[in-house]
Symmetry: C2
Subunit: 104 residues, 2 copies
């Protein structure tokens, strides 16, 4: 049984969030998650559908550790949601300012 550890709101750091988003694929993942509401990892993956599973899993772990997303198990899938409320509470305006510029 895999149990995910998400950082508390106050443990989310600016450098951590920026580092997590400083990767085109992760930026795209967050973008997709925000558009869809909530979805599963593989489906939420970046444009390329041929990305290795381990790489994708790693990207989700980075986003999780940075406090950007929350992952819960739902059957065989892992459902991911952007922790919008937490990020916005901690860094008001940041998420919107960044994602506004993520290339569609």
């Amino acid at each position: 049984m895999v149990q995910f550890v998400h950082p508390a709101r106050d443990d989310i750091t600016l450098a951590g969030v920026l580092a997590a988003l400083a990767d085109p694929m992760r930026l795209q993942i967050v973008r997709s998650l925000l558009q869809e509401g909530d979805c599963l990892s593989c489906t939420a993956a970046a444009p390329c559908p041929d990305i290795p599973k381990s790489t994708l899993s790693n990207h989700f772990r980075v986003l999780r550790d940075a406090g950007l997303i929350q992952t819960t198990k739902k059957g065989v899938e892992h459902r991911n949601v952007v922790r919008e409320a937490d990020i916005n509470a901690r860094f008001p305006g940041l998420l919107k300012a960044i994602l506004k510029h993520a290339n569609a």
Copy 2:
């Protein structure tokens, strides 16, 4: 004679900017530069004055390559300025949104 190459405004990428700022020291450097107007590298350095020269030089190179700062030679010193106009033109609101949250 060292000649610096700065990326053109349109070559500045979001992921590049985020990656450059995804480091506490570089975040602090940019913060200091914005507060001071323009200043020299070593002086503009992060809190710790005992950081190795090569490391510092490297951080400035990263910021330069990302298009965040412009460096010009002024005697023995290198004067650095944040390319505020370029960044704001390319990603309106981004810089302010990020630096607003950089811990004082």
